[in-house]
C-alpha cells in the first residue's frame, strides 16, 4: 500500500489552493481511496500532511488532473 499526496488543478489547469489530494494505492497501483483534503489547519488530515511535508525529502506531487 502506498500513500501519495498530489496537487490539484482547476479545469483551466491553474493550481487549486483550496484542496490537495491524497491517493492510496495497493501493491498493484490500483486506487483504493481518493481523498480531497482542504488546506485548512482545522482539518486533521491537512495537519498530518504538513507534518509529512516538514520532513526532509517529502514533496507533494504535481497534479495529474486537468
Amino acid at each position: 500500500m502506498a500513500i501519495v499526496y498530489k496537487k490539484l488543478n482547476n479545469a483551466d489547469s491553474s493550481e487549486r489552493t483550496d484542496y490537495i489530494c491524497r491517493v492510496v494505492t495497493d501493491d498493484s497501483d490500483n486506487v483504493l481511496t481518493d481523498s480531497w483534503i482542504p488546506t485548512n489547519t482545522d482539518n486533521r488530515d491537512y495537519k498530518e500532511y504538513l507534518e509529512w511535508e516538514a520532513i526532509d525529502g517529502n514533496t507533494i506531487g504535481d497534479a495529474d488532473n486537468a
Binding site: D34, S35, W36
Partner: protein, 379 residues
C-alpha cells in the same frame, strides 16, 4: 377549587444532552472490526469518536465494536484485543484511547477561573486481568495535563475518576480540540520516566503514564469499554450522574458532525443529482450534514461509481462509469457565516457522450463494486 391537579401528567425531568457523543459505543460507521493495529498512529477505526492514538510498536491489536450481554443497560462496547505481545518496550511506544472535545463544548467547566469545576470521567471497563492504566486529561490550548491511574477488573467495573478544576488557562471558545481525555494502555519510558502528574501542571510527557501496566504484555490482554461520560463536578461511584441515553437518531446526528459515511453496494442507489456546467457533471450528489470544519472527503476509486442519465417521465438511462469527482463547497464550520452550506460532491462525467445538461442523473455503485464517500472532520 378543581381536582385537575389530580389528573395532570407529570413529565419526567428533562434530560440534558450528554457531553460525550456515542459514549454507549452504539455507532461504528467506519468498521465493526479492524485487525493488525499498532504499527503507527491508527486514528479513528471502529466506534465513532473514540480515537486510537498510537506510536509504532511491535505489539498488535484488534479494535472492534462488540455486543454486550452482561452489563445491564448497554448493548455495545469498544473492545481491544492484543494479538501480538510486545514486552521489549521502546521509549517512544504508546497506545491510548482518546476522546477529544471541542473548546466551545467545555466552557461550562470554567477552566482557568478561580471557581473552575471538577472534571469527572467515568466509564465501565472489563479486562482479562487487574491491570493499572492511566486516565489523563490534557488541556491542548494551554499545554497542561493531569493524570490518574485506575485498575481494571475481570468483571464490569464502573470507574469514576474525578479531577480537580484547573485555575490556570481557559479553554478556547471555538471548534478546535481543547480537552483530550486519554486512557493510556501502553507507554514507553518517554511517558513513564517521571512522576505521575497527580495535579494540573504544564504538560510533560514523562509524567503522563507513570506506573501503568502494558496492554501488550501478553496476547491474553483484552479491554472492553462502554458508558463513557465526562461530567462537570466532583463525583464518585455513588454520586455520579446516571448515563444519559440518547435516541439513535440524536446520537447519529451528533456523530455526523465529525464523520459521515455513505456507502452503496449491491443495487442500491448511492445518490442523485443533475447534469450541469456544460461539462456534463453531476452536481450536488450528496448533501452531507454540516461538519465541525471543512472536511476531508474520501471516496472509493472513481470506477466504483456508475451514473445513469434519465429524464422525467421514464426516460431511458444512459449509463457511464464515473471517472473523477470533485468538491463544490466546504462545509459548515459552525463558526463562520460565509461557509454555511452542506458539503456537496461533484461527480465528473467529462468524456462521456450523450450526457445532456439539465437531466437528472442517478448514481449507484458499479455492478459488483462497493462505492463509498466518507466525509471526515474529526478532531
Amino acid at each position: 377549587m378543581t381536582n385537575a391537579v389530580k389528573n395532570r401528567v407529570v413529565l419526567p425531568e428533562r434530560k440534558v444532552t450528554p457531553l460525550v457523543v456515542n459514549g454507549d459505543m452504539n455507532l461504528a460507521q467506519r468498521s465493526a472490526s479492524v485487525t493488525g493495529l499498532g504499527d503507527g498512529d491508527e486514528g479513528y477505526v471502529t466506534v465513532d469518536r473514540f480515537r486510537h492514538t498510537a506510536a509504532a510498536s511491535a505489539g498488535r491489536f484488534t479494535s472492534k465494536q462488540t455486543a454486550v450481554a452482561d452489563l445491564d443497560g448497554f448493548q455495545n462496547c469498544l473492545e481491544l484485543d492484543c494479538t501480538t505481545a510486545d514486552t521489549s518496550i521502546a521509549a517512544t511506544e504508546l497506545l491510548q484511547i482518546d476522546y477529544r472535545v471541542e473548546g466551545q463544548d467545555m466552557q461550562h467547566f470554567k477552566k482557568g477561573e478561580t471557581n473552575a469545576e471538577y472534571i469527572t470521567v467515568s466509564f465501565y471497563a472489563k479486562a482479562d486481568a487487574a491491570v493499572a492504566y492511566a486516565c489523563e486529561l490534557r488541556d491542548i490550548d494551554n499545554g497542561r495535563h493531569i493524570s490518574k491511574l485506575f485498575t481494571t477488573g475481570t468483571d464490569w467495573t464502573h470507574h469514576v475518576i474525578s479531577f480537580p478544576g484547573d485555575t490556570t488557562g481557559n479553554f478556547d471558545d471555538n471548534n478546535a480540540e481543547s480537552l483530550r481525555v486519554s486512557l493510556i494502555l501502553h507507554a514507553g519510558a518517554n511517558f513513564t520516566e517521571g512522576t505521575l502528574a497527580a495535579a494540573w501542571a504544564g504538560y510533560d510527557d514523562a509524567n503522563s503514564a507513570v506506573g501503568i501496566g502494558s496492554f501488550y504484555a501478553a496476547t491474553t490482554r483484552s479491554l472492553k469499554i462502554t458508558g463513557f461520560q465526562i461530567e462537570a463536578g466532583d463525583y464518585n461511584a455513588s454520586t455520579n450522574p446516571p448515563f444519559q441515553y440518547e435516541s439513535v437518531d440524536s446520537s447519529a446526528i451528533r456523530c455526523w458532525r465529525y464523520f459521515e459515511a455513505c456507502t452503496s453496494s449491491g443495487t442500491n442507489l448511492f445518490g442523485q443529482g443533475y447534469l450541469s456546467d456544460g461539462n456534463s457533471r453531476v452536481a450536488t450528489l450528496i448533501g452531507y450534514h454540516p461538519k465541525r470544519t471543512v472536511p476531508t472527503v474520501t471516496s472509493s476509486a472513481a470506477g466504483t461509481f456508475t451514473g445513469s442519465q434519465g429524464v422525467q417521465g421514464g426516460g431511458v438511462a444512459t449509463g457511464f462509469i464515473v471517472k473523477a469527482w470533485s468538491i463544490s463547497t466546504g462545509a459548515n464550520s459552525g463558526t463562520t457565516s460565509n461557509n454555511s452550506g452542506l458539503c456537496h460532491v461533484h461527480l465528473d462525467t467529462s468524456g462521456h457522450s450523450n450526457m445532456t445538461d439539465g437531466n437528472i442523473c442517478r448514481v449507484a455503485n458499479t455492478n459488483g463494486e462497493t462505492a463509498f464517500m466518507n466525509c471526515d472532520a474529526e478532531l
